[in-house]
Point group: C2
Chain length 450, copies 2
């Protein structure tokens, strides 16, 4: 059997795995990435990136429809026929860019399916190639996640669809039922609605975006109902989805049925645990759901680290990248016990949504002052025809640290990004507010008088 | 003579003056604002706000022209006839919003022209009203600035225009010469170019936006030349501008002449020194150009403070607001010697530009590492069709503090806003970069690997 020996072997070529590879290579470690997809993984090729192109396209389409100019004519219906090419071109461009960076750093790319057979021992199987054994001082598992389906709620990839189909969808339905109101369900619900589809969101949760502050989530729901015409049914579990000729029937837990031309399943993601033998898996993921972390990114096995979605949620690229950096610093012996960081969770609707919490102190129940700010008077928000929206914060009464923040409005991810810096560096809310940000920006909501 | 006595009298109702008023009222001080325009002053009614509506409108127009959709038809020429109404409506909305806030805080608004006759003594003259004397424990001068003209370079407000005319311009020329390449000249050059006007910028400076890092300024020039078709002539002083029937002739210092249907004068701003008697003015502004500051916002006269454009440049709303807060804290005795702050300077072109510098250490010549980052691989920049652009930083070799930064690209003001927080709170460049910002955002350029 062919065999190579390397400092760090990484299972998974998505944003987390490739970040770890870059970080390790820059520290002088020899690195191999084992992946059964091109650089960027599922995020670039089937989930995150396609959704962002749909979101961007739908937003531009909506902006043109509502442009304050005379004499513009626009087709009644959005023509989706070129979307697959746009998406695959962008995936290609981003993947090639990443590939070049990896090549410049001398990172070895191994196409194939990895199986961790023992700590530091990986066997790789690929099409048309002899099996390969990779021996590594350290292994980083970054195998990611996949959409979750159930026996009664699963796609047929024609009328009952899932995120992956969005890379090849060329025709929009007139009506669509979105099953799930998390990040994916909410983002794609707005995409379809902005492109003229009659959308109903059905979620078993009490609100859209369950992790969001309820006040902000209700502002989001109100806006999406009134401005985008989306029907939203919360506290509404779905029992089954069935294809019915050219239609789809969704049966709710109360036996009520809904029909539409299409249904979209976005009921969550499960981690990809196909990276190891069952013996190894029993040690790394004894619950069978996620790889368990013990100290920082270290797992139960010496020399085996895990990062990104495979370690659980919230499943976000910036979390995976942060964990990647920490894993490499642990492997390099630079950090013994990584401290948790505050990381922005973003939803790229229009306007977008974001939240953050203090990684240690958010859920301890310490006494907080609650602030609810809005964009009234914010010129940037008015220019974007979006004076609605809000920023809600919980601030410790003890020392003024921001413990939680949720925002809905123009540039919400960037606004929460400023708060990310404040939380991670111990800058209090009053210190953060002290020095005005440039005018006119949406971020001025942070530093406005009052 | 009617007379009132108050804690703080503020001369000028623009962004700086009204910020000071709010700040003082929240501290329990009694406050009067004396202004000869409605709340918001020239910024809201004739300079800043109109420019931002033109910029936003031109950007939307350009986006529609370049939209990647089939079947859209758009008039060949932009119809500017409704711009005056759009601008005055937005000015009104923003001014009313501000008015309400001031009313809620019990701030007295005095319409009229103020003359500071002695420390703590202001006479106010208004139309159709008896003169009023305001006696105040502290006076804050926030009289702002006006466009600068010279005898040979001055507007006729028909063919030779200036920022104020943009509130009533209803017809665009086919060709325009922009005299000046500072913030106003650059912003409006892009507005006209995006709306289809053939624009030539003429500036006596060696680059557009003279305060910007030259590498970034050259990237801006290149992009505006190639993507927007703007002709840019640097190191080109103008001698005179003359109306010539339906055309305008611009004579350069080398006697070369340029002609166009319109010329726009943007050769800088002068401070408004009409707020005091000449005796007082000799003490406050001995050079005759700006009000001189001695400690923080204090002037040469006890109890008289000055903030905003009247104290010199860079003339920015966030600087005026920061100075307003400091002046009030000095008056309230909470701060004896305000420390200077780093403040973002932003230019709202598309994409925008921004810069910042360390308020104390930027120009000391201490050894620096220079970083030049770009948006390659940044998915948000690619979605905005703007993978060009860059972020250039000077970082102290001693302690890693960011001493200067210039950015050109999507969300540049927000990106530099994050650096503003870092500089003001002593967060080093390596600390700032440590924890990834949300994906996909333009701000990721700050925290990307590499």
């Amino acid at each position: 059997m062919r065999s190579i020996t390397i400092d760090v072997a990484i299972i998974g070529g998505g944003p987390g795995g490739t970040e770890a590879a870059q970080w390790a290579a820059r520290k002088g470690l020899s690195v191999a990435v084992i992946s059964n997809s091109p650089p960027g993984g599922r995020a670039f090729w089937s989930s995150l990136l396609p959704s962002k192109i749909w979101l961007h396209t739908a937003h531009r389409w909506e902006q043109i429809r509502h442009a304050p100019f005379d004499g513009i004519t626009i087709p009644r219906q959005f023509n989706a026929s070129t979307m697959p090419e746009r998406i695959s071109r962008t995936s290609q461009q981003q993947s090639e860019q990443l590939w070049e960076t990896l090549q410049q750093l001398g990172i070895q790319w191994i196409n194939g399916t990895a199986t961790l057979t023992a700590p530091g021992e990986i066997s790789v199987e690929g099409e048309n190639q002899a099996p390969l054994r990779v021996q590594a001082r350290a292994v980083i598992i970054a195998s990611g996640s996949l959409p979750r389906f159930t026996p009664d709620i699963r796609p047929d990839m024609e009328r009952i669809i899932a995120p992956r189909l969005m890379t090849r969808l060329r025709t929009l339905p007139r009506t669509l039922i979105m099953i799930g109101g998390g990040v994916t369900g909410t983002e794609y619900a707005t995409v379809f609605a902005e492109l003229g589809v009659n959308v109903t969101v059905v979620t078993d949760q009490p609100q859209l975006l369950p992790r969001l502050d309820p006040e902000v989530s209700h502002a989001v729901e109100d806006y999406f109902r009134t401005a985008k015409g989306i029907h939203i049914r919360t506290n509404t579990p779905v029992k089954a989805v069935k294809r019915n000729g050219d239609a789809v029937t969704v049966t709710l837990a109360n036996n009520e049925t809904l029909t539409a031309e299409m249904a979209f399943i976005a009921i969550g993601r499960v981690v990809d645990l196909k990276f190891a033998t069952s013996e190894i898996l029993n040690l790394l993921a004894p619950s069978g759901t996620v790889v368990e972390l013990h100290n920082g990114m270290a797992t139960a096995l010496d020399g085996v680290y895990a990062i990104g979605d495979v370690t659980g949620g919230p499943m976000m690229v910036n979390r995976a990248r942060w964990q990647a950096r920490m894993a490499v610093e642990q492997i390099a012996g630079q950090v013994k016990h990584p401290e948790p960081a505050a990381l922005t969770e973003a939803v790229f609707t229009h306007p977008p949504v974001a939240r953050i919490h203090h990684p240690v102190r958010a859920a301890t129940g310490e006494p907080c002052e609650r602030y609810s700010l809005n964009f009234q008077g914010n010129l940037a928000a008015r220019l974007h025809d979006m004076p609605a929206g809000k920023l809600v914060l919980s601030v410790s009464k003890k020392d003024g640290q921001i413990l939680e923040a949720s925002a809905f409005g123009p540039h919400a991810p960037e606004i929460i990004g400023v708060i990310q810096l404040a939380i991670n560096h111990g800058i209090s809310w009053s210190e953060l507010r002290r020095i005005p940000l440039p005018h006119p920006t949406a971020a001025e909501i942070l530093t406005a008088a009052g």
